[in-house]
Subunit: 254 residues, 2 copies
């Protein structure tokens, strides 16, 4: 992508698992992935949460990989009957599931001192044909890369470590920067200021996130841009505007 450094690189996330949709488990991977992608210069553009149902995983993966540079999945790559993500992604790509020889070796080593490699554990060496592995330094069973799809574990500490393994391997654009101003003011009092300030500084977005604390209303205003200079100018203008509106903005947010 030489000569196109301003292009926005995007990723999507497919969170796979009944336990998320039942409310039993609070997803923690979306925000961790989003922050990690920001540093890689890649924007998390959309996410879907789907149940452990093959056709729904296939639909989500195929819709999202067609329109994003990267797709990440979390969950469903363990050893039990409800771990069907490998079969689903293989179906999405129209390829068979095979045992990856290197994954088998890794698992044999890992389980050598942990009771040996049984049939269930060998399931974790299954990959869509043509896939590569993503190293897992925590629990042996690797993540999987096929095409632009990166399959990671659902357990957050393993997922985070797989991101770490991928560090520096993904092509991206300019990192998205952000700076936050907080103020004890109702966002509805400064709506015009926000809109007009955003318009004045090209490529900046201003997000407004209200809160209620200690019986008072306030809001954090997040300025985002890929250009540090323009972002600083925009933050300065917003700071001055909030002062003029009678509040005392707090850099970094409240």
């Amino acid at each position: 992508m030489a000569g196109n450094e301003n292009r926005i690189w995007t990723a999507a996330l497919v969170i796979i698992g009944d336990e998320i949709l039942s409310g039993r488990t609070q997803d923690a991977n979306l925000s961790a992935l989003a922050k990690w992608l920001n540093i890689q210069g890649i924007r998390l553009a959309e996410a879907r949460v789907v149940p452990d149902v093959q056709e729904q995983i296939v639909e989500a993966v195929n819709a999202l990989r067609a329109r994003n540079d990267y797709v990440f999945t979390t969950g469903g790559i363990g050893p039990t009957h409800d771990d069907i993500s490998v079969d689903a992604v293989a179906a999405a790509f129209g390829v068979p599931v095979v045992i990856h020889p290197r994954a088998r070796e890794v698992l044999e080593d890992y389980y050598a001192t942990r009771g040996g490699l049984n049939e269930a554990r060998l399931r974790m060496a299954r990959v869509p044909e043509g896939a590569e592995l993503i190293e897992n330094r925590v629990s042996g069973a690797p993540g999987i890369k096929i095409g632009n799809v990166y399959m990671m574990a659902g357990v957050p500490r393993i997922a985070v470590q797989m991101m770490d393994s991928l560090e520096g391997t993904l092509e991206g654009g300019l990192p998205l920067l952000s700076q936050t101003l907080g103020a004890w003011i109702a966002e509805s009092e400064v709506a015009d200021l926000l809109r007009e300030t955003e318009r004045r500084f090209e490529g900046c977005q201003i997000g407004s996130y209200p809160f209620f604390r200690e019986g008072r209303v306030g809001a954090n205003f997040v300025v985002r841009s890929t250009d540090a200079h323009v972002m600083a100018e925009c933050v300065k203008a917003l700071f001055d505007g909030l002062i003029a509106a009678g509040s005392q903005p707090v850099s970094g947010g409240i």
Copy 2:
């Protein structure tokens, strides 16, 4: 839906907001909604996280309302320029945006002692034509119902209160029940037991959720069913199987 009490009622959730996709804000509404829906006898079947971009909100709402009994949205119904959910949902339904007279009254009352109803605040009385209101006892600005789409605030304590306002108004089926057994055992040692136990009890699903704590591996096994009797039998069989596998299962999970 008389005579069809076993039909599964489903809902989908569209989480609207750049702040979720940037990793700045951890969503808390999905799990709260999922748990609340379980009690209503409605299953959260899928969820999407979309940015503050009208066409993406429209696409998600239209895809999901066509194939679910209910769609919930969170976020983007405040007073600022980045709050575009009302416009997007109106576009999804192909109707104009109008001021709802009752919402205007509610906001006039709420802001009477809070600086009055300015133009930004009046934005929160805008609804897709034909919509009804969802009461908001926390901060005045109501949620919105149009067709099978329920638009709620993004701020979790307001969203939860809007669910409370909807209590008893949604038709559902049998509540999905669940019971958890925890064990200090690797899920890969009992994969066959889980698969076979699930097969033996019709309508039961068993989810397996591994964890690593205190240097040891364990897993929680969640049995779900709409039939309390069959679920109890399934849990009993799983309990006995885990004992036979050499572990001591803990009711309620670890």
